[in-house]
Symmetry: C4
Subunit: 124 residues, 4 copies
């Protein structure tokens, strides 16, 4: 596939629990944006984070190489600012080439891990 | 992004368990509609709740300010009427500007928390 | 809303675990198709179930009244045949008026309940 | 339905945990792509797997007979290569006839099973 996807994506739900019952990295509570760039050109992605009661933060600048997937942990974002824990947020992705975006959360506030995943909204 | 999203959204599934194994607000069983308004103008949203065996209730009137996200708990709705617990429902959102809607449920009837999340249906 | 939705929907995943750790009906393992008919006319829906290794079964005939939601348990279908347990299936919905379809599974094979939910595929 | 679906689908998220708390096949951690071919002609599907830091692998060649569903476990793929465990991946499906693709993961790293499911991205 040369091109699959869209350039604009939105995820209306975001929340990173501050708490985790584990210290093992794979099981710490986290939110991930899974980005697929199936094309032949690197994708330059601008990510903006929206909040309930303050101005948006961003853009975070992310590169996804050609023919690669990037599973980006919101927990790891630092520039221009880390994503606050225990806080509702939403996110918008703007790419210069078509990509596919999906969102996953692993919640391990309790010893029993919960998972959720949702395809992001693709602007036609 | 000036505009991302659609004006009409529907969520066919809704159910707030009356029971919770917790009293901590973040872990009480709840249903949330996450609404993102990434635009430059406040969104006036009309929400209607549909049931299996009675007439729809609404509109609930919700404002999402420009460049903000609102994570609306169905549990908290009161006007024109609270959403009954342990009852199947569905919901339709009509906004005057483009928004993005996603739905999440945290189910804590059992001590082990379950999560689900789904992008809402966007009317083209 | 007079009309929201589409007439043709598909759910590629289906599986009803035969096992349940509970006898309480709300917690028995089940699969639900949540159907919303927000329009002013009753929806006549034809449901067909597809399998891995045998001919499809159907149509199951379902009516969703105007301005109502129906949360249909696949477990309860009997005519023309019950849905076999522990068996992979998929489903296609054909309605005479626009509807919205979403799918939910509650899996209680283990004492810890798992939930999943997905918007169905809407044929444009 | 003669035709429902699309020919190109993408799933941006993939991850098969190496660990399982169970040996029973239905409860071993796994990722499934559920494919529905509701049409009258067998679907020839080419599946490509994308990674974070190496070239894509594929195509895997899959046939879904007419009027059948195939719940394909990524765990079972071997030709041209097995899918590595504990590794982020993404996948693209190209079919010669319209199909519907949905993704499910059962995570049983812990004794409490977690489930997630997402409709794949359908290229219009």
């Amino acid at each position: 596939m040369q091109f699959i996807g869209r350039k604009h994506w939105a995820i209306a739900e975001g929340y990173i629990p501050a708490q985790s019952a584990f210290t093992e990295p794979a099981l710490i509570s986290h939110e991930t944006a899974c980005i697929l760039n199936a094309g032949e050109q690197a994708a330059q992605v601008r990510l903006t984070i929206y909040f309930a009661d303050r101005e948006p933060v961003g853009p975070y600048r992310i590169t996804v190489p050609a023919r690669r997937t990037l599973h980006l942990r919101f927990n790891d974002l630092t520039d221009p600012a880390p994503v606050p824990r225990d806080t509702d947020y939403a996110s918008v992705f703007e790419s210069d080439v078509p990509i596919v975006v999906q969102r996953t959360r692993l919640d391990s506030r309790r010893a029993e891990v919960s998972l959720l995943s949702t395809i992001a909204y693709a602007e036609p």
